[in-house]
């Protein structure tokens, strides 16, 4: 049963894409979780679905249209949030349900309720193409580069926005950058885990790592370890046992989280 799976190109491509996403997701996740923005990942995922619908209707690569709508929405959410006109998370609820409604209508027009839609909803590692891997890789590099540029400011703003502002940190810019990075991360993770499971990838490894927190840097390292282990184990399990890869990845993550939670509470 345990044949050499690496002879299959699609498995190698799936693992490559999975590892890239596994590295990126916690890097953004730690800032979102600590700022109580966990729901934003889910919101942006639903917004991406609207983008995918546009892509399916227009014939443009759906991941590209997903990036476009997610980035636009992330800036809109940040604007609404900082204007403080809307109450807390209600801005997220509006974007989440609104874009879902939009997606449903567009997909109906495009007659898009088919197998390829399911791939986008739940991810489909088997159908990841070499072009997809290349695009995910480039996007990931962009995200890491921007993170490197703003890392210190992001940490400071996340910990204490007011003090950061007094230190001269351009907090509004930094907040917008974080939102755009979240949007890019969500969009690039779609082919692996799909729209509906992305927030798990962004949130669960970070929450698991926070059980053992010693410092900010070490929390990131632990989250990376959980993320990489879960994604690789989930993909391998999905190939050997013929499971849905996205679901398998998230279930492995949850198992690791549960174990960490129990160990810490002993």
């Amino acid at each position: 049963m345990f044949e050499n799976i690496f002879q299959y190109g699609f498995i190698v491509r799936g693992l490559e894409a999975g590892v890239i996403v596994a590295i990126i997701a916690p890097l953004i996740g730690i800032f979102l979780v600590l700022r109580r923005y966990s729901l934003i990942a889910d919101t942006l995922a639903h917004v991406s679905l609207a983008g995918i619908a546009i892509g399916l209707l227009s014939g443009i690569n759906p991941v590209l249209t997903a990036i476009g709508t997610a980035v636009a929405a992330s800036l809109g959410i940040e604007k609404l949030r900082s204007s403080k006109r809307l109450f807390g998370e209600s801005a997220l609820a509006i974007f989440l349900s609104g874009s879902l409604a939009f997606a449903v209508v567009i997909l109906g027009l495009a007659d898009g309720f088919n197998a390829s839609l399911l791939n986008y909803l739940f991810g489909s590692i088997v159908t990841v193409s070499a072009a997809d891997v290349r695009m995910i890789f480039i996007l990931a590099l962009v995200v890491i580069l921007i993170l490197g540029i703003f890392y210190k400011q992001l940490v400071y703003v996340t910990f204490d926005e007011e003090a950061a502002k007094i230190s001269g940190v351009p907090t509004r810019l930094v907040n917008s950058v974080l939102m755009v990075l979240a949007a890019l991360t969500v969009a690039l993770a779609i082919p692996i885990v799909g729209v509906l499971l992305i927030s798990a990838l962004i949130v669960i490894p970070v929450v698991t790592a926070l059980q053992f927190k010693k410092s900010f840097a070490r929390t990131i390292i632990y989250a990376e370890a959980v993320s990489l282990f879960s994604v690789i184990a989930g993909i391998l399990a999905s190939f050997y046992f013929d499971l849905a890869a996205g679901g398998a990845i998230v279930l492995v993550m949850l198992a690791v989280f549960a174990a960490a939670f129990v160990i810490r509470r002993r």
Partner: protein, 260 residues
């Protein structure tokens, strides 16, 4: 700070000129406030809850923009001011501080080295040395690898002072710094402030409602109650509140309300 031993009391650190502020165009919270703080000053901003003392502090720090009047920092108009490393800030939020934040003491103080708009910042040896020096000054060096959330309120406060000190500023603003600490921590905290002010010549601006304690510590008291109702020495303040004029009733109300 060693180099700033020559304190020039005539040098203005902050000039607040005829400032009025209101939130969203509602009734003024601050009205026609004019106040100068000189180098080496140790000034307490006092006033009842909701009197605008924290608002005044935020106006001085450019967190809030007044609709009238001007604020100058180190002789420069606030809107053009960019020398943020000259300013240290200790926030009020010790009381509702996020104890779950995964940062070590070292990392918290290091954040203070985050210099404004500069991108691609790496942690240099100079940064590390500055952090350890700042922790040394507040006697918290041995705690550098501890998680900030695991420390006591008094210890956390020292860490925040270290963060404010890390760029060797000329002035430190403190917003209700003793709100969440016990009496013992309060004593050593004020001793630390005295040391910073007298030995290092650091200018200190302190917002507090703990007037009784402040009068034992600071050089000047500025009373804020929408307008600036006094700007006097602690002795004058006490004398005034003894006699039966305006100050008296207010001080009684103030000292008997210690809720935050």
């Amino acid at each position: 700070m060693e180099e700033s031993n020559k304190v020039d009391h005539s040098k203005n650190i902050i000039e607040v000129a005829d400032v009025s502020f209101s939130y969203d165009g509602r009734e003024d919270v601050l009205q026609n406030i004019t106040l100068a703080i000189h180098q080496g000053d140790y000034i307490g901003l006092v006033g009842p809850n909701g009197a605008g003392k924290t608002t005044l502090l935020k106006v001085m720090l450019n967190l809030l923009v007044p609709h009238q009047g001007s604020v100058r920092l180190f002789g420069q108009d606030m809107r053009d001011f960019e020398e943020w490393h000259k300013i240290g800030y200790v926030p009020q939020k010790l009381a509702n501080f996020d104890a779950n934040f995964p940062a070590s003491v070292f990392e918290v103080v290091l954040m203070g080295r985050c210099a404004g708009k500069r991108l691609f910042q790496r942690t240099t040896e100079a940064d590390k040395k500055a952090v350890l020096d700042a922790l040394e000054k507040v006697d918290m060096r041995e705690f550098k690898d501890r998680l900030i959330g695991d420390l006591s309120g008094g210890q956390q406060q020292r860490v925040f002072i270290a963060r404010a000190l890390v760029n060797r500023p000329e002035v430190i603003f403190l917003d209700e710094p003793t709100a969440a600490v016990d009496r013992e921590a309060k004593d050593s905290f004020f001793a630390l402030l005295q040391k910073l002010n007298q030995e290092a010549g650091l200018t200190l601006v302190l917002v507090s409602h703990d007037i009784r304690r402040l009068t034992q510590e600071v050089m000047h008291i500025a009373c804020v109650d929408k307008t600036l109702t006094c700007h006097i020495s602690p002795e004058e303040y006490l004398a005034e509140s003894e006699s039966s004029d305006i100050g008296g009733k207010k001080v009684k109300i103030l000292t008997h309300h210690h809720h935050n």
